[in-house]
């Protein structure tokens, strides 16, 4: 086994050098030891090909590699091969079709959800939110699409973690952050708030115009902006209120507050006057039991009234 790798210069040079400081008489003895030892087979303990393949599969599993189906070598050559080929082709086609469809998670209105991604990162999803990602998530990339509001705790991984949110992108390696991006909110604004670590935030297609967000800061991007707004400090309690089923709004237009209530309570709130929607409000509710108590509160403070409709509520002056 040593013989074949032997024919190279580097090793012959080593051999020459070995005998540099050895007397002529001794050289002959040593050369014999050297030559004899090449016949020794130190194949202990034996390690078979099958063992090597098993070990390789274990290592793949530990590294999170996907494994191809095992090739059966030398066995079942005549009978099995055809069957295996057919099965393999079927599996490849079925597998590819399966892999090409995205995995979707959507949260019904009135509910919250917490899911673990294949890379071990976790996502908390607010009512009515939806995320989707490739079945190869963590193998070829860590990209996911979000419409709604989600809080991420990202584990370190082999690929950068990207959140695509209605035209904007958040790029991170490992950190905790909240993304709020409702397609149906007025202005379809995306807000990214960083709880720990840091992220890069940019419009889709313009990664060079990124805003770097550090712990405790947030930035907004509105469709059409080349670059997200400069970072502002953030009150983390407010941002993550939704995770505890609390409601927290700072100078937020009623239009947005009502959308939030609609998703949270799976109801419908209409306004009789556009001006009502533009009224801003700062308020906090700790896990409010029902939507009526909140509406009662808001309308009282703002001098409005509300009434029931067939499928929800109507707010008027």
């Amino acid at each position: 086994m040593a013989e074949q790798s032997w024919n190279n210069d580097k090793k012959n040079r080593d051999l020459d050098r070995l005998f540099d400081n050895v007397s002529e008489s001794e050289r002959k003895n040593l050369k014999r030891v050297w030559d004899d030892s090449s016949e020794i087979d130190l194949n202990e303990p034996p390690v078979s090909k099958a063992e090597t393949e098993d070990a390789l599969r274990d290592v793949h599993a530990k590294l999170g590699f996907e494994d191809k189906p095992v090739n059966s070598q030398n066995t079942d050559r005549n009978n099995g091969l055809r069957y295996y080929l057919a099965a393999a082709i079927f599996l490849i086609i079925a597998g590819a079709a399966f892999l090409l469809t995205d995995k979707k998670v959507s949260v019904p209105k009135g509910e919250l959800a917490a899911i673990e991604l294949p890379d071990g990162s976790t996502v908390n999803l607010n009512s009515g939110s939806e995320i989707s990602y490739s079945r190869l998530f963590n193998y070829t990339n860590r990209d996911l699409h979000l419409n709604g509001e989600a809080y991420f705790e990202v584990e370190p991984g082999n690929h950068p973690f990207h959140v695509y949110a209605n035209g904007s992108v958040v790029q991170v390696t490992s950190t905790k952050f909240n993304v709020r991006s409702w397609l149906d909110d007025p202005g379809s604004q995306t807000t990214v708030s960083v709880i720990s670590g840091s992220v890069r935030f940019f419009a889709e297609g313009s990664p060079q115009e990124a805003v770097s967000l550090k712990e405790g800061s947030e930035s907004r991007w509105i469709s059409g902006m080349i670059r997200p707004a400069d970072p502002d400090p953030v009150r983390i309690d407010n941002i993550l209120a939704w995770k505890q089923r609390n409601l927290a709004f700072v100078n937020t237009p009623l239009e947005i507050i009502f959308r939030e209530l609609e998703r949270k309570y799976n109801t419908s709130i209409e306004i009789t006057d556009r001006e009502i929607g533009r009224t801003v409000m700062t308020t906090f509710y700790s896990d409010p039991e029902d939507v009526e108590s909140v509406l009662n509160d808001i309308t009282t403070v703002k001098g409005l009234t509300f009434s029931r409709t067939t499928n929800g509520y109507r707010v008027s002056k």
Binding site: K11, P45, A55
Partner: protein, 193 residues
Amino acid sequence: MNEPNDEQYNQLTERLKASDREAFDQLFRSLYAPLVRFSFRYTRQKSTAADIVQDAFIKLWHHRESIDAEQSIKAYLYKIVRNLSLNHIRDRSFEQNGLDAADMPADQLTDEDQETDLRTERLELLKKWIMELPERQSEAFRLSRFEGLDHEEIADVMNVSSRTVNNHIVQAMKNIHRLHEQYLTETRHIGYG
């Protein structure tokens, strides 16, 4: 077993640095068995040796981007396996070192066909003597003769200069020769040589 040559190893290293999984698999298939045997010399347990070598490959993958392409990947792996093996022995505080020839199964020293008796006996003796050498000498000699590493690589693995490697190997051969002479006078055996 067709072991890759130096040139192929260099290519595999480049590909590995670029996160090529096939290159990783190729390295694994080429070096797993010899590395398990290498680790076994220290740990004396095949399952432990196998675990160590798997860990070494996992480390290799995790550090693939920082591997020095100029350096021998083979030496790099032997070095990791050696360190892990030595750590294992230290942690388990084995009283005897892993190279103790007394651990060699006795039946392997005899038990062969009549015909090949002499040659086999000679080789078995040689093997036994290699195992009985002082640890560093035995290590250097084995890496050179059985693992196919060149002196620079062995120096890297053992964390010494290549000059020291040279000395270890020369001393190893001198000792083996001495043991052989001793054996001849003790037994008046004429089979060897």
